[in-house]
């Protein structure tokens, strides 16, 4: 059961209401950054406080929570955050994407397609796509309000001019519902197509920046590009060494002191499920 | 056809920072000028000949009187019209060859001479060709054509000025001492140019100190005096 010294999910009820109101606004205006009163959390900024506050406001006693970091359930951060919610809510947790109702993620979208009724909660470091080119926040807000996004393409142009190709390989800017340009958080561009018309609700929380934004289910999410330099996802020549998948995002792992490398799925649940299925068959 | 009619034209300068000193440049000028006619202004230095040309051109504001110009079929009083109209008149009807070439840095002689044509919409190639022909006629050596006139001699600058003033077809030409720095040969060229313009029907109002030129081109004289007006 949950720790009796803390309110359910750590945050007080008023804070949860405030965050839910912001979330409603965010869902009503896809891709629009809603300012919210981000709270002091028991971990520093930069460790997922935005995502955690969203999960804390959404989680209920009948939910099943999955937490991943770079696709993996067993990295330090994922373990700590899962532990945090177990302690403050007593809610069931899982590593299986298909069993989760809430999935909090840092920097990846699960390979297993999500379904209607699931909520994907992204941890976001920098929320504003214009912050690189336009340092003045007043001006950036106006540009969002007026839909003036020429500058985003300027950044992409710059990449092509200097490097021959658009260099963003992660946190690749997207246009949501043909209106707002958004940063999808540092997910690899490989994952961008998954966001387009996803049946699940996607919510994004930036604790330090104090912004929440959302993409409702079945909303168009298009990656920015040029007509003659269209958006492309990464591809590998190798397949996963553990499960043989050729359609997932692969991590390159050094396995010994001689520098031997192997490629394996970043999504541990996806890889594990595939391996289990193969063992079942054999 | 009367191209220019000047009626009781007076010009007074008030120098506000020199005890409001009043200097009268024009005492009441009256004359009219027809197409194909050359009127030469005569008078001692300081009688306002250059000031008259400048006032007719709109460079000076008249204090009193009228300057009626026949511009594209209509008679317009330059003294009472708006700056845009004056610019239009300068572009299409009235040309002015001043005494000194105001040198614009970095613009070549060729470019200076071609500009009046370019401003009237003549295509670049034709304008340049005509400019070259004009410079040739005025004996400006080809090696100078692409240079800015800042380093030219006084005579060469004057000839560039003349080329600039004569290249387009203005119904009215104002000439202020166009031959002052020229040698005999080039003076002759300018006389020919003026006579050609007259033959085309251009009205010419000029100041010439050189008697030879005066006699060659003048049809009438107008004597400028300081106190009263007399028709020559």
């Amino acid at each position: 059961m949950s720790d009796p010294d803390y309110n359910f999910a750590y945050l007080d009820e008023q804070t949860k209401r405030m965050i839910r109101r912001s979330l409603l606004k965010a869902v009503a205006i896809p891709g629009y950054q809603v300012p919210f009163a981000s709270r002091e959390m028991p971990m520093p900024y930069g460790w997922g406080t935005g995502g955690i506050q969203l999960t804390a406001s959404l989680i209920g006693q009948y939910d099943t929570l999955k937490v991943i970091d770079q696709g993996s359930d067993d990295t330090t951060n994922a373990v700590s955050i899962r532990q945090f919610f177990r302690r403050t809510t007593g809610v069931k947790t899982t590593e299986k994407t298909t069993e989760a109702s809430l999935i909090q993620t840092r920097h990846r979208i699960p390979e297993t397609p999500l379904t209607a009724g699931q909520i994907l909660i992204y941890q976001v470091p920098i929320s504003d796509p214009l912050s690189f080119l336009e340092p003045r926040e007043t001006e950036a807000r106006k540009m969002h309000a007026l839909g003036e996004y020429g500058m985003m393409h300027t950044k992409l142009y710059e990449d092509i001019a200097h490097y021959g190709a658009i260099l963003h390989t992660y946190d690749y800017p997207v246009r949501v519902n043909d209106r707002y340009v958004m940063r999808p958080s540092p997910i690899p561009k490989f994952d961008n197509p998954k966001m387009d018309h996803m049946p699940a609700l996607q919510v994004f929380g930036a604790g330090r920046e104090k912004r929440i934004y959302a993409v409702p289910p079945y909303t168009s999410v298009k990656s920015l590009d040029f007509e003659d330099h269209p958006f492309e996802i990464q591809r590998w020549e190798q397949a996963c060494a553990l499960c043989g998948a050729t359609d997932s995002f692969l991590d390159e792992i050094v396995v010994d002191d001689q520098g031997t490398r192997l490629f394996a799925c970043a999504d541990s649940d996806y890889c594990g499920s595939r391996q289990a299925a193969q063992e079942g068959e054999s | 056809m009367t191209i220019l009619k000047v009626t009781d034209l007076q010009k007074e300068f008030v120098l506000h920072h020199q005890n409001n000193a009043e200097i009268i440049a024009l005492w009441g000028v009256n004359f009219s000028l027809s197409a194909g006619e050359c009127l030469v202004l005569k008078g001692a230095s300081g009688t306002g000949k250059s000031s008259l040309l400048r006032t007719v051109y709109g460079n000076y504001l008249a204090t009193r009187g009228r300057v009626d110009i026949c511009h594209q079929g209509k008679v317009i009083n330059l003294c009472k019209t708006d700056p845009r109209t004056i610019l239009h008149i300068r572009q299409h009807t009235m040309g002015y060859v001043s005494q000194f070439l105001r040198v614009v840095p970095r613009v070549s002689a060729l470019q200076i001479v071609a500009t009046p044509l370019l401003e009237r919409g003549v295509d670049s190639t034709t304008a340049i060709e005509k400019a070259q022909a004009m410079l040739q006629r005025l004996n400006i050596p080809e090696r100078l054509w692409d240079l800015a006139p800042a380093t030219f001699s006084g005579g060469e600058q004057q000839r560039v000025n003349i080329a600039h003033g004569f290249i387009a077809d203005y119904p009215l030409l104002l000439l202020d001492e166009p031959t002052a720095s020229l040698d005999e040969h080039n003076r002759g060229v300018v006389i020919q140019l003026i006579q050609a313009k007259k033959a085309q029907g251009v009205a010419v109002l000029g100041i010439f100190h050189d008697a030879v030129v005066r006699d060659a081109v003048a049809d009438h004289f107008y004597e400028m005096t300081r106190e009263d007006e007399r028709h020559g």
């Binding site: 106006k142 003036e148 020429g150 300027t154 003659d228 | 008030v14 709109g58 460079n59 970095r106």
Partner: protein, 258 residues
């Protein structure tokens, strides 16, 4: 002569509390005209320029502009989005300090291409080609297309700023002391370029300057400002050669002749 004025300014005033920066400003500007606004520091010319170019909302008066579609607009009755769109498509602003008018952290090509991209162009090669063309027009070596503006000299930065503005073929450009801070020879080159572009593209320009030589070279008409008001206006050569107002006479006589 019966064509529609591009810009009509009526009774314009800019006040900061009790302080009057400029007032009672009335004039019209037509296509292909260059209007010079001269005056010393504190004359209000910069405030006027800001009010005209939508950078500052005037306290009084109207500014009417007739765009390409010939439907006259009253500038400050438009929604801000429309004003900003106008700034990007039909107008240009050349700032005194090129750093105010450029993005210093992207290449020259990106600087020029930005407006095209802001207006919806999405073909990289086309945008790049247009940027190259304009770089040539302002006499910057095309090889510098991918260089950062911070590596350019002051004169080059200024010319880049001009290219950045001209890429959308504006009809009206506002310039605030465009030659300020530049070496004399660099100034000459810039002025020359401006004259050429004005003639070539039939640009209308409002240029604010304290330098009478620049005004004489570039402008057709001149407005002389003193302490917030226009004290004299007329053809440039007439105002400079036959100044009527005491202040104009003072300005003209103060200019050093080298």
């Amino acid at each position: 002569m019966s064509e529609q004025a591009l810009l009509q300014v009526s009774d314009l005033a800019v006040r900061y509390g009790d302080f009057v920066a400029c007032e009672a400003i009335n004039f019209e500007l037509y296509a292909g005209e260059v209007l010079g606004v001269v005056g010393e520091s504190g004359s209000g010319k910069t405030s006027l320029l800001k009010a005209l170019s939508t950078q500052h909302v005037p306290s009084q008066g109207t500014v009417k502009y007739t765009p390409r579609d010939n439907k006259t607009l009253s500038l400050y009755q438009l929604p801000e989005a429309k004003r900003r769109h106008l700034m990007r498509s039909e107008w240009g602003v050349v700032h005194q300090n090129p750093r105010d008018g450029l993005r210093l952290n992207v290449s020259a090509g990106a600087n020029i291409g930005e407006r095209l991209m802001a207006n919806g162009q999405r073909h990289y090669a086309n945008i790049r080609q247009q940027a190259s063309d304009w770089l040539t027009q302002v006499e910057i070596d095309v090889a510098r297309l991918d260089d950062m503006p911070t590596t350019f000299s002051g004169g080059m930065q200024q010319r880049l700023q001009i290219a950045r503005n001209l890429v959308t073929q504006p009809r009206l450009i506002f310039m605030d002391e465009p030659t300020g801070g530049l070496d004399v020879s660099v100034q000459a080159r810039l002025l020359d370029l401006l004259r050429k572009l004005v003639a070539q593209y039939q640009l209308s320009v409002i240029i604010v300057t304290h330098d009478l030589a620049v005004a004489r070279l570039l402008s057709h008409r001149l407005m002389v400002m003193q302490q917030g008001r226009v004290v004299e206006t007329g053809l440039t050569d007439q105002v400079l050669d036959d100044p009527q107002h005491p202040y104009t006479q003072l300005l003209v006589s103060s200019v050093l002749q080298p």
